[in-house]
């Protein structure tokens, strides 16, 4: 009997699960994004353009990009993205980044006028399920004085069956490792609002819903 007990203990110990690796398909196309895009810039003033480079898993990386203006008689821009407006008109501001594998650029058309007007203060989208759980609804992002508001409307519905449903802002729809956790979902039907501080309206491209306990994606929505 003693030998059986010893054998049992040895077999049991060998069964204690070791932590292994689960591989996640998290590739996204690298993107270069101008994050400050004014509609109009006051003539004879300076404006600081900023950009964001997101690598192939949607994580922001510091890179040296090149700024240029399509018409330096209207806007000049230096290597740091600081623009100087010289006369009223329209010009394209372009940011470019390249390495051995990618060539990226983004262009923003900007007016020079009698006042500065920020262009994008609202974005919207629709969340949809990517699982067997119910998740749907339209949403709107708006930015006001450094405060980002995410508003869901009456058509929003989410399954109450899931333990631990969380919502995130992310630049990768398939992974939350580098996402911003907004919080646990507490409203499962109808309109509701999330308010976030110090988050730019162009900082993220997706709303992503994950079930934390199961560590599984439930749904997402592209921010248009």
């Amino acid at each position: 009997m003693k030998s059986y007990l010893i054998a049992f203990i040895l077999v049991s110990l060998s069964l204690f699960g070791c932590i292994k690796d689960d591989f996640i398909e998290d590739f996204v196309e690298p993107t270069l994004r101008i994050t400050t895009v004014p509609d109009t810039i006051l003539v004879n003033s300076e404006y600081q353009f900023e950009f964001m480079f997101l690598n192939n898993i949607g994580v922001e990386e510091e890179v040296n990009a090149v700024w240029s203006s399509s018409n330096t008689d209207i806007i000049e821009i230096d290597e740091s993205g600081l623009a100087l407006t010289k006369t009223i008109g329209i010009a394209d501001i372009k940011v470019m980044y390249s390495n051995n594998e990618i060539n990226l650029e983004e262009v923003a058309t900007v007016r020079v006028g009698m006042s500065t007007v920020e262009a994008i203060t609202e974005r919207d989208g629709r969340i949809k399920t990517t699982s067997s759980y119910t998740l749907e609804g339209d949403f709107k992002l708006s930015e006001n004085q450094g405060q980002l508001t995410i508003e869901f409307f009456e058509d929003y519905r989410a399954s109450t069956a899931l333990p631990g449903l969380y919502v995130y802002l992310s630049n990768n729809p398939n992974a939350i490792g580098n996402a911003l956790e907004i919080g646990a979902v507490e409203t499962f039907s109808g309109s509701h609002v999330y308010t976030l501080e110090n988050i730019g309206i162009n900082d993220y491209e997706y709303l992503v819903y994950f079930c934390k306990p199961f560590n599984v994606k439930v749904g997402d929505g592209t921010i248009n």
């Binding site: 009997m1 590739f27 109450t160 333990p163 490792g177 199961f214 560590n215």
Partner: protein
């Protein structure tokens, strides 16, 4: 023999269904003891619609002691004690960069204990014995552990279950056969829904009753009357409002008159908010009722 075989340790899913091994009580002073290893690893789960969705690979391992002792011929005490419980989940690794996105973690502790008292409503030796069992689920395991607060070795709630068992035994040729059925009502606290539990078991003794083969059916139906799901708790087999219908098989072999080994397998036909993978168990038992 019927008593012993019927109380063999079941998978964790089923142990609560058939706790205390059908309607047969131990004789006074007799007992049955089992040390077993039960495990479940899963990378998918049943959703609320009954479909299966993927999840990060998660494992639960329980090293448990199951003991049954007859205080009288009609009153038997039972304890199911997962003395060592391990819950882990894998690393999530980027297939693009090879970097770890979410670090895997593990939790080791004792699990939730079940303490039961079973009373035979019929006299020992009855043709169709019937027993009632009261089980107290003691939340000795841990919940909400780890960096993501998702590791747990228990459900974090105290529960009490009343259960009725009835069964019979008969000869089929020269093979001893037993059969039993159970129904139970599980009252859970901390906002968990109450549950209706049911099960059926049949066993046959072969090789002069040295080898017992057992088949089981069982399930749990939630009354869906608990509080809204707590976002910080519940996973795998510990979630609220879980439901399933499962089947299992087990083989128990008496190496000596009283000492034996066993192995079992259980899986689900259907489920809701629960891991979707088979569970396994191996064990050694000591049957003093022989």
């Amino acid at each position: 023999m019927k008593n012993s075989i019927a109380v063999l340790f079941l998978s964790l899913f089923i142990v609560s269904i058939a706790t205390a091994g059908g309607p047969w009580t131990q004789q006074k002073g007799k007992g049955y003891y089992k040390l077993s290893e039960w495990w479940l690893t899963y990378n998918q789960h049943y959703t609320d619609t009954g479909a299966t969705d993927p999840n990060i690979t998660t494992g639960i391992f329980n090293t448990s002691l199951y003991a049954e002792y007859g205080f009288t011929d009609r009153l038997t005490g039972v304890i199911y004690a997962p003395l060592f419980s391990r819950n882990y989940y894998n690393n999530q690794v980027s297939n693009t960069t090879g970097e770890v996105i979410i670090q895997g973690e593990s939790l080791n502790s004792v699990g939730d204990f079940d303490v039961s008292i079973k009373y035979g409503l019929t006299q020992p030796g009855a043709k169709i014995p019937i027993a009632v069992t009261l089980t107290l689920g003691l939340p000795l395991g841990q919940t909400g552990q780890g960096a993501l607060n998702i590791l747990q070795t228990g459900d974090g709630e105290f529960n009490q279950m009343i259960q009725f068992d009835a069964g019979t035994s008969f000869q089929f040729g020269n093979i001893n056969v037993y059969s039993s059925a159970t129904i139970g009502f599980n009252n859970r606290t901390k906002g968990f829904s109450e549950e209706f539990r049911y099960g059926y078991e049949i066993g046959a003794g072969l090789m002069n009753q040295k080898l017992w083969l057992i088949g089981r059916l069982g399930g749990v139906e939630s009354f869906q009357n608990g509080a809204l799901t707590d976002p910080n708790t519940s996973t795998s087999i510990f979630a609220n409002n879980s439901e399933f219908t499962s089947f299992g098989i087990e083989a128990a072999y008496y190496v000596t008159k009283q000492f034996g080994v066993s192995a079992s397998f259980a899986s689900a036909f259907r489920g809701r908010i629960i891991a979707a993978a088979p569970s396994y168990s191996i064990g050694v038992f000591y049957d003093l009722s022989k």
